[in-house]
């Protein structure tokens, strides 16, 4: 068997929970379960040996759905090294007991020696019809925060990186939770574009694999924005105050 690494985006329904993602993770740490990649539900393509989180979840807040996506690195034992999986092939990620069953929507060729950038999307089947049309859009957007020379193998020891946004709402690079909370105070998320597609926007609420208290995060952010406003008068017209006035109707 040949080892390969794939960078994968897992998309889960729900604003800040990732049940499919957590099920994949727990399947890997259990001793009796195994994860495999199936092609067209019949052919065994690869056995997955490990999944490592690369980027912490990003929220998707649109009119059509609320979802969360996280980027993970998947290590797979390729059954046949010559076998290549091409764009539009439908892969299924399945475990022994069948509790994790997601489709992999392919955007790039995957095979031994072939996995560059975000190579694949895994989706829970219930959101497939909604997300599929935005898949190519998301692939470009999700590769934005990564450095250009993102060459395999990707070492991610100690990784807990969020996609951050700057104080003025511009999308920045990757940052740790402490950095964002003590400086820029904003997390990237995806929103609807009136002209079609999804675009990266900003939110004080982090994407998370466990439920977070959205109200508390907004309150904390707006409290901070208020103190900034009183010390720097010129920020009154800026982004944070405007955001808080728009989202918090009551004073």
């Amino acid at each position: 068997m040949a080892q390969t690494e794939i960078l994968m985006a897992v998309i889960d329904k729900g604003s800040n929970t990732m049940t499919t993602y957590q099920a994949i993770m727990s399947a890997l740490t259990s001793n009796s379960d195994s994860l495999t990649l199936m092609l067209n539900s019949t052919t065994l393509v690869a056995t997955i040996t490990n999944v490592v989180p690369v980027m912490q979840p990003v929220r998707i807040q649109t009119n059509a759905l609320l979802a969360t996506t996280a980027v993970v690195k998947v290590y797979a034992d390729w059954k046949d090294p010559k076998k290549r999986v091409q764009t539009s092939d439908l892969l299924t990620l399945v475990n022994a007991s069948g509790t994790v069953l997601v489709s992999v929507l392919l955007l790039a060729d995957i095979g031994v020696e072939v996995a560059a950038g975000i190579a694949a999307f895994t989706l829970a089947s219930d959101i497939q019809s909604v997300v599929t049309q935005f898949a190519s859009d998301l692939a470009v957007q999700l590769s934005l925060p990564f450095p250009n020379n993102f060459v395999p193998p990707v070492s991610t020891a100690g990784s807990n990186l969020y996609w951050s946004a700057l104080k003025n709402g511009a999308i920045g690079g990757l940052a740790t939770y402490d950095e964002i909370m003590s400086d820029s105070r904003l997390f990237a998320c995806f929103k609807d574009n009136p002209g079609g597609g999804w675009y990266p926007s900003y939110s004080p609420i982090p994407g998370s694999i466990t439920p977070v208290d959205a109200t508390d995060y907004v309150d904390s952010f707006c409290g901070w924005a208020h103190t900034q406003d009183s010390t720097h008068g010129d920020m009154a017209m800026g982004f944070p105050v405007e955001y808080c006035e728009r989202t918090q109707s009551s004073p």
Partner: protein
């Protein structure tokens, strides 16, 4: 199956070496928390370990942040030596961490001397005194391993 467990064992060793918590515990706190005093100075938030590529080259991966100045480039280098005390430095790889790349550096390096254990550390600026906490972390590249170990 035994294949996977051996991999997880290796992963745990790396996590312990870099002092990071397990991946599952790294989700955002349920309520916002800005823990303790504001962080200061240089910190290696991620990485530090190196992985061996199939062609035999080692890929160094690290993210170093200066909490006192989060926008300027950081000039650093990777020192590679044959002893843990760094008295015999065999190579110095200059690296530059920029905001545009989220202060992440990925540098491939193929050792000139094979079949030897090599030690490496990150040095900020010109001298190891600039950021002693980062410099003090030393890793070992062993020819028979695919992943660097804490030295």
């Amino acid at each position: 199956m035994s294949n996977r467990r051996s991999f997880l064992r290796a992963g745990t060793a790396v996590l312990l070496a870099t002092g990071a918590r397990s991946a599952a515990a790294q989700s955002a706190p349920a309520k916002p928390s800005i823990g303790g005093p504001q962080p200061h100075g240089y910190q290696m938030t991620n990485g530090g370990t190196a992985l061996k590529r199939k062609d035999g080259a080692w890929v160094f991966w690290a993210r170093i942040v200066n909490f006192d100045d989060r926008h300027s480039d950081i000039t650093a280098s990777i020192q590679i030596a044959t002893d843990r005390g760094f008295s015999q430095i065999v190579d110095v790889l200059p690296i530059k961490l920029t905001e545009r790349k989220s202060f992440i550096d990925i540098t491939p390096y193929k050792p000139k001397v094979e079949n030897t254990q090599l030690y490496y550390r990150y040095v900020i600026g010109a001298s190891p005194e600039t950021a002693p906490s980062i410099t003090s972390v030393v890793h070992v590249l062993a020819p028979w391993d695919n992943e660097s170990k804490a030295g």
